[in-house]
Structures are given as C-alpha cells and as structure tokens.
Amino acid sequence: MELTAIEIIRRALDEEMSRDESVYLLGEDVAAGGAFGVTRGLAEKHGARRVRNTPISEAAITGLATGAALCGLRPVLEIMFIDFATLAMDCLVNQAAKYRYMAGGQLSVPMVVRTQAGAAGGAAAQHSQSLESWFIHVPGLVVLAPSSPSEAYGLLKAAIRLDDPVLFIEHKRLYAMKEPLAQEEPLPIGRARVAREGSDATLIAYSAMVRTALEAADQLARDGISVEVIDLRSLVPLDMATLVRSVAKTHRVVIAHEAVEMGGVGAEVAARLGVAAFDELDAPIMRVGCPFAPIPFAPELEQALLPGTRRIEQAVRELAS
C-alpha cells in the first residue's frame, strides 16, 4: 500500500527507537513533528524525554549530540536545512569526525545528523543548496544520500546502527514521493545499486537525481541507446567496484548531480575512473552538474540552472555518437 516519504522515514525512526533504548531524537521542533512533519507523533509514543525540541542553536545542538554519542547514546539530530549546517561545521568537521582517530580508537560517535537539501522551487539561495561536497571531503564522516523513500528507510536504519557519525541527506523532492515500502531491512552501507540495466553507457547519480536519470534513460532507450543507471546511495564510502564493473561493460560514463560541478562527487568519481578504468574508456568522462552559481529565487531561473533530463540526454548522446 502506498506510503508518503514522510511516513516511511518516520517508520524507520519509530522502529529503531522501539528496538534500541539509546536512540534519541533532537532538533528544532522535532517534538512538534519537525519542519517537514517527519517526527510527528514520535514524542507522544516514545516519551518527551527521548524526543527533545532544541533552541535554534545549530552549533550547540550538534555539539550536544556529539557529546551524548561519546557517552553511549545514539542521537539522531535534525538540522532543518543543510544550508544551516554551516553554523555547525566546527562540531562536525573538527570534533565529531575526528574523535575516534584523535583518541587512538578509544571513542566512537554513533550520531546521525538528518538534514534536508536540494532545490524544490522558490526557496532561493540560502534554503536550496546541495552542499554534500564539503562533508564527503572530511575523513571520519559517513555521507548517505538516498534516492527514494524506501531507500531512505533502509539506509537510515543502517546509519542509526553504525558507530560512525553519519550525515544523512534527504532531498526535499523526496518528500513529495509516494511508494509502497519495498523491504524492511537495513541496506548495506557502501554498496551502490544498479537501478536500470544497460549496455551503451553508464549513468551515475544519487539522491533525487536518480529519478531524473531514469527518465533520461527511458527517453534514450526510445532512440536505441541502452543506458545503465547506477544509484550510488552512499557517497562515503564510495562503491568503486560496482562503477568499474559497469564501465568495463559500457565504456562510456556520465555522472549527474544537482550540486555544482566544481569539486563535486562527479569530480572524484571521474578522477578515480580515470585511473581504475583508463583502458576501458572509449570517450571522455562527462559530468552534468549545476553551473557555478548560487540558486536564484525565480522558479524559471532555478529551472534554467538545475541539471535536468535534457542535459543528461545531451551528454549521453555526445558520448554515444
């Protein structure tokens, strides 16, 4: 039966809280359901002690969650927009990510920071950014970017059970998706998913861009171009084996993401494939990302900027020709 993304993600949180006493929810208005309604009803069910509203102090509440994780709790902190995580960078980059290493293995930080990212019409420059590229450059952080509600369900359960700090990025367009819950088990972290088989080109994407990639692949199939679409699921750790296997089959690769191209996931994947699959490549590796500009308010400008099916198709056609 069809469930909304909000219900599916809430169910993952609900089940993990029932399964493990040490799981706590923290964040602005989370006891009142949270900005997007994901945590609605959880305070009533699991008790106000385990679902706590916090003041609007991103630095302090991220530090609080880190400290609690050091001492045996498994906090799940919601930062309302990834744009606001800029206020918590010291806690994430200098403290949480490095505690295990600096302590020579004595400590771990089993904390999940859930945050919302990406453009969804009219939120303008400080509420629409895709900023995963900063965090995937920080050794010690795990970064997950699910492409659909049931993917989010499986990855969130795995993230909560992991002993490392996880940045869990939910694209705003995920919330508009409805689908039946595919399976009820945690998904493996660090293993990509072949979303669509194909032989002429490999199209790599993650988060909401996977759905756009599948649409582009359908268009291309009508012109006889068979495209294999791979959903990365996890940016750190990055599943290169699956990517190399696919490129060895198709010999052409396009990487698509909503974040700016400069220094994005596409750059790292291209650099690694440039070494690991050098002899398999028959054409340049193409990247399709957002041009180097902030996100404008006007929906027309936002659409003009963000990479869509048209640009992906263009890139694949250029390679295939």
């Binding site: 003041p55 609007i56 009219g122 939120a123 303008a124 400080q126 500009a293 404008p296 308010f297």
Partner: protein, 325 residues
C-alpha cells in the same frame, strides 16, 4: 503604517490565489516599529533586515511595485528575481543585504557600524526577532559592537509575548530560560531599553532619542520592542482572519473573531494610532478614508505591475555570480 498593512494584505491574497510560490512572512502588527525607526534615519545610514523584511523596506522608501515584482520572481524585481522575498535588499536605500539565517544579519550590522564609525558618519540598524538570541552570532556581534563602541542600534522585535503579560511582570521569549529577554544584552553591558510595540508615539519618541545617542558616538544600544504576534500569522501560511483591516474596527465596528478583536484592542499599533489621531482632531474620518483609498490603490497597482512584469530570461541565471572587475 497603512501602506505597509495594505501591501502585506495584497501579498496574502495573491499567495492564496497561487500567483507566486515559495514561503513568505508578513509584518502585520509591527508596522509602527519599522516606521518609527526609519523616520529617525538618514540617507547615509544602514538597515539590516531578515526574511520578514517588507515593512522595513517600505518604511525605508522602497517602491512597492518593484518589491512585489521581486516576490513574484520577476525581471523587474529589485534583484531581477534572484532574491525573492527572503533576501530582498535595496542597495541604494542603504539596505545592502538581507540574510535568511536566524542571527545571520547581526554580525553584518556590527561590521557596517564599524565602517560608519571609521568614516565618521552614519549608523547601522539591525532588525531581528527574539529567536536570534538563541544563536551564537548574536553574542559575538553584541560583544564586538560593545568592545569597538560602534554606532549600532539592535532592534529586537519580540513578537512572542501574549498580550496579557505585555505591560507588567516578566515573561520569557521562545526558548530562553532568561527571566527577561532584556537581561541577556544587559549582561553584555549594552544599554538596553524595552518599548511597547503597540504605542506608535512611544516608539517614535524612543527611537528619535536612541538614534541620536548612537549617532553621537554613545556606542551600541539594544531595544526590545514587545509586540504581539498577529493571529493571522499563526498558521504556517499567513491568512487574513475576517479579511483585510477595516478603519471601522478602530471605531464602532468589530471583527467577528474574538482573538482578532482582542488583538486589535491590545496590540495593533495601526488601530490604536488611528483612533488616537481622530479623537485628538488631528485627522477626520473622511481624510482617513481618502488616505486608505490611496494606499489600497497604490498596492493594487503594485500587484498588477508584478503580475504583468516578465520573468527573467534563463541566461540571467548565470549573471551576478561575480562583480565585474
């Protein structure tokens, strides 16, 4: 104040009819604050606002039609559709940038005040809400302003206070355990005052004096304006309880909804001020009606202008990332 009220009502009606997209915030119930502060400012002064900026911009002299066009994301908007309502700014009116992060504009205001002090002219005014006191940026900006003794006026529009408690006693704001919000800036050794957001005359007098003190190099000031959240702004998307404001509500007429009626009596600066002007004989009911008609027409015109304006062409998305050298 009337112009601001009518502008915001237009916004709500246009939003409800899906003419523009994206979340927005209205200034209904706080008009007296923006007007009294901006009346005390000159062209070389700076104003920093937040996502709830329409009232501040109008009081500072921004054109309603270009503002509405920006809210619509049109090419004729002040930022050509790039800022929308959240980040609306008007450089030539001394509103250089508007942050949509809670507390994001506080350090900016301190920095601008530093530049004013170095130049020997101008003051820097920072409008913010009570929630900004939960952000570290608030303390860093306050401490810097105090240590550098810069001409900064921090105007905290505390719209979280139930009317019953407004006049007397103590009340906290949002999630501050402080007995009184004003205790926090006072603990940072910054001269702090509390003003009633419903009393236009008291606001005008206070800000005239305070801007003068700051301009003469008296160092920063913090003012907590206690205003009460307008009932229409409680739901996630603002709505007009009982329709647009009516002059009659200041006199014999009453709105149906009790909470709105109570709010008008205890907290609405516009209703209270209009009643005072008429009873003092400063203006007649008919002059008032004429003024209101002009305001309504001006703001309806702004709506038309926004609706008819063209969207920006896609190539605009790539412009203004860098200032040309």
């Amino acid at each position: 104040m009337l112009r601001i009220r009518r502008f915001e009502e237009q916004c709500i009606q246009l939003a409800e009819s899906k003419q523009f997209s994206g979340h927005y915030h209205v200034y209904i119930g706080q008009e007296a604050t923006a007007v009294s502060v901006c009346n005390a400012l000159g062209p070389e002064d700076f104003v920093f606002s937040t996502w709830r900026n329409h009232g501040h911009l109008l009081a500072r002299g921004a054109a309603p039609d270009r503002m509405m066009a920006e809210i619509f994301g049109k090419a004729t908007g002040y930022a050509g559709g790039k800022s929308g309502t959240l980040h609306m700014a008007v450089g030539e009116l001394g509103v250089p940038a508007t942050s949509a992060l809670v507390g994001g504009n506080l350090p900016l205001a301190t920095g601008a005040a530093l530049a004013c002090k170095r130049r020997g002219s101008g003051v820097s005014v920072c409008f913010h809400g009570d929630a900004a006191l939960e952000e570290g940026a608030f303390y860093e900006a306050m401490i810097l302003a105090a240590v550098w003794k810069v001409p900064a006026l921090f105007v905290c529009e505390n719209n979280s206070i139930p009317p019953a408690q407004r006049k007397r006693g103590q009340f906290t704001s949002s999630t501050l355990p402080a007995a009184q919000l004003a205790d926090v800036p006072q603990s940072l050794q910054i001269r702090t005052e509390i003003v009633d957001g419903a009393d236009a005359d008291q606001l005008a007098e206070s800000f005239e004096r305070l801007v003068g003190e700051v301009r003469r190099g008296g160092g920063p000031r913090f003012v907590e304006v206690r205003c009460t959240r307008w009932p229409g702004s409680f739901p996630l998307w603002p709505e007009l309880p009982d329709g647009p404001w009516q002059i009659a509500w200041a006199f014999d007429g009453k709105p149906d909804r009790a909470d709105l009626a109570l709010w008008l009596e205890q907290s609405d600066p516009l209703t209270l001020y209009v009643r005072k002007l008429v009873s003092a004989g400063a203006v007649t009911r008919s002059q008032l009606a004429a003024m209101d008609a002009r305001a309504k027409e001006e703001m309806a015109g702004a709506a038309r202008y926004a609706i008819e304006s063209p969207f920006p062409t896609p190539d605009q998305a790539y412009r203004h990332v860098w200032a040309e050298q």
